[in-house]
Amino acid sequence: MATLAATRELRLIQRRGTRALASREMRRVLSLWTQTLLPPVLTGAIFLAVFGGALGSQLRTVAGVEYLRFILPGLLVLTVAGQAFANNSTSVFQAKNEGYIEDVLSSPMRPWQLLIAYMSGGLLRGWLAALVLWLGAWPFAGAVQQPALVVLALALTGLIFAVLGVITGMWADSFDQHAFIASVLITPLALVAGVFYSAERLGQPWRTLTRFDPIYYLVDATRHGYAGVHETPTWAGLTIAAVVAAGVFAAAVELLRRGWRLKA
């Protein structure tokens, strides 16, 4: 009985620690809102205004959908992915670079709890920025056809890129390395993910290239939920995304358990 009580007490302690670290991460996002929330919302709004408004009036429809309505789901995915990644890679890198991550690493929290807590800031930033962007575009882009599908696709997007952000923050030893991953991996993947165009209408090799981009399937699934059009089997794409999310989560837990690039 004493052992059971001790185990329960320890779990309570660890839950409190996880909540504390998560609240610290989310507070950072909200208190630095001019750096964390305003820029992605403005960038998304500019994309919508330029591509949806100015260019959209000439393109009229893509795949039978008004251009603004066609690009909005992709912009929501890009916002969630980019912000979840940027937030977590920066926060973990800063904590590691300035040494104060040691206070967290020497706490009784389990590696998976540390990961969830660090992910929370990026998830809040990505989802909140996407929500604000959607609310601004809603009057022009129309209603969501299948909200649950959109929520699921954006949830998986957030989970995958929040974890990748944590891993990048652990890996980076300098701001250059930290920026390198965003520049050579995230931005190119985002640009060829079919946000602004239909992959079906592309010539080769661009059509094939787009289909190798994992973000493309998340964009396509979100577009299916939002506007009712899609180019790939949605549930297959989401299943693969769920497997990828579970895989990167497990990998990050193992890296944290080993103290990879965090401990001497």
Binding site: L10, L12, I13, Q14, R15, R16, G17, R19, A20, L21, R24, R27, R28, S31, A95, E98, G99, Y100, E102, D103, V104, L105, S106, S107, P108, M109, R110, R258, G259, K263, A264
Partner: protein, 258 residues
């Protein structure tokens, strides 16, 4: 306190579980090939005030990092009040408070929040966190700076905050890695007084590393000399002076290190 290899396992386990720190054959080689610890064994009884003395690079900070769970995969065993720091890491970490040599404080938090967040990371309940933080702010004369960011504090204040943070979750074992480095004489004396009171009244075990031998002499009941990752001598100040035929701790230390 060192145990022989022929010790009865049951007695050895009992000693191990009651010791504040039980280190057995600890070995650590860093990725760059630096052999920081070479089969170190060290047993520190609960309730003692213990000094670790050695030159820079002797392995003191690696030992402390291992105790705090900040060193990757060392060979050997470390137990804190009977909890294995690897297999029972959460339980072991709850028992330890570490004030590291380098001052690293979360720049997004105020002085008060550095304490409250630390307490919450270590699972303290909300009402207790607030009371304990105010208590430590007062003890370490930081109440007036409670809402200031740590990077606006003087070096001595940051050092005090680091020790307060280590004490926040009421650890049974307090590890201080050169706590008075760069601290003026007046503050050093105040810290000595506080540490003595903590040790005597709250029965906290204290492990202290320092390059100030008078500090070790003043505070520590037992002292260990460490060189090149190995324990070379351990005992009370009087025992070490007698062993090395020295008139004071400094003489014993210099003889042991050469």
């Amino acid at each position: 306190m060192r145990s022989g290899s022929g010790t009865d396992p049951a007695i050895g386990r009992s000693e191990r579980d009651s010791a504040a720190l039980w280190v057995e054959n600890l070995d650590k080689v860093y990725a760059d090939g630096t052999h920081a610890l070479r089969g170190m064994s060290l047993h520190i009884p609960a309730g003692s005030f213990f000094g670790l003395l050695g030159p820079n690079g002797s392995g003191k900070s690696t030992l402390i990092g291992t105790v705090a769970g900040l060193v990757r995969a060392p060979a050997g065993h470390v137990f804190i009040f009977g909890h294995d720091v690897v297999a029972q890491a959460p339980q072991a970490r709850l028992k330890v408070g570490v004030a590291p040599q380098d001052v690293h404080l979360d720049r997004f938090l105020s002085v008060r929040e550095v304490l409250t967040y630390h307490g919450r990371y270590f699972g303290m309940a909300a009402p207790d966190v607030g009371h304990r933080a105010e208590e430590l702010l007062e003890v370490f004369d930081l109440t007036g700076k409670a809402d200031t960011r740590p990077n606006r504090l003087s070096g001595g204040m940051r050092r005090r905050l680091l020790i307060a943070r280590a004490l926040m979750h009421r650890p049974r074992l307090l590890v201080l890695d050169e706590p008075t480095a760069g601290v003026d004489l007046e503050l050093r004396r105040e810290l000595w007084t506080y540490l003595r009171r903590l040790h005597q009244h709250e029965k906290t075990t204290v492990i202290l590393t320092t390059h100030y031998l008078e500090e070790a002499h003043e505070l520590c009941e037992r002292v260990a000399f460490i060189r090149e990752g190995q324990l070379i001598a351990e005992g009370s100040v009087d025992q070490l002076e007698a062993r090395y035929g020295a008139s004071d701790l400094e003489g014993a230390y210099l003889t042991a290190m050469h």
